[in-house]
């Protein structure tokens, strides 16, 4: 049988929408990470082994990739979705801690601020390859 609901899930502290979007973002991340990991670690493997390319990932390679709309979409989607999924997962864990559960609203706000700030920081880094 499935792991039983935690006390918080059972009492709805986690909330329906965070639960729902955790699953949606998770499924999207499987597809996006497959592309991301393939491109970063395996697509250039033959060229590196044969010596026609120095490394799998270098500035010029990322720059060429981010000149294509597809990878702009993949990278910015990944950044946003993975931050949501990861921090929402941390929220689920923290809510099991009574001290944090009592301050759930402030904690959730704090995680959103952290996520938004990290998104801006990550987007600023990605833009350096594009501008």
């Amino acid at each position: 049988m499935a792991a039983p609901l935690t006390e918080n899930q059972a009492t709805g502290v986690v909330g329906f929408w965070p639960w729902f979007f955790q699953r949606i973002s998770g499924v999207l991340l499987i597809a996006l990470l497959a592309v991301h990991i393939w491109m970063g670690h395996f697509s250039g493997l033959r060229a590196v082994i044969e010596g026609s390319q120095e490394e799998l990932v270098l500035y010029s390679i990322v720059q060429q990739r981010l000149a294509q709309g597809l990878f702009v979409f993949v990278d910015f989607s990944l950044l946003g979705l993975v931050l949501y999924h990861g921090l929402n997962g941390m929220r689920n864990i923290l809510l099991e801690w009574p001290a944090a559960a009592r301050r759930a609203q402030a904690m959730t706000l704090g995680l959103w601020v952290l996520g938004a700030a990290t998104f801006v920081y990550g987007a600023w880094a990605l833009l350096a390859f594009m501008l």
Partner: protein, 134 residues
Amino acid sequence: MALSFRTWSLHGSASPDRNSGTRAGWWAWFLQRLTGVALVGYLFLHILVISTVQAGEDAFNSVLIVLQKPFFVVLDLFLIAAVVYHGLNGVRVLFFDLGIGLKQQAGMFWICMVLTTIITVVAGYFSLPLIFRN
């Protein structure tokens, strides 16, 4: 402190699963949490590494060259294993949410473990030239 969280007992660490007679459910949950927290840590490091590009093309390349040395390629395999397990077990949990496979949950955990192992070994095999290059 984590051990005082009520979920550690709610997730059945003390007693075997009703259907499988094993603790597979607890292990699945524990590994999901372990890989999840580890991946969040990695995520912030990853964003930090990529942001070195703001110091210029050369700064970015010098960092990335170090991070593609054999030691880090081996670390990447642990990363692959963590991502693959977390994703596969996530799908397993999603099935349960849809009411599918509840009675096969232990078997589905083992399928996750076997697939994670296979994918990591295949990734490791293809990475061998990078691990042993001069």
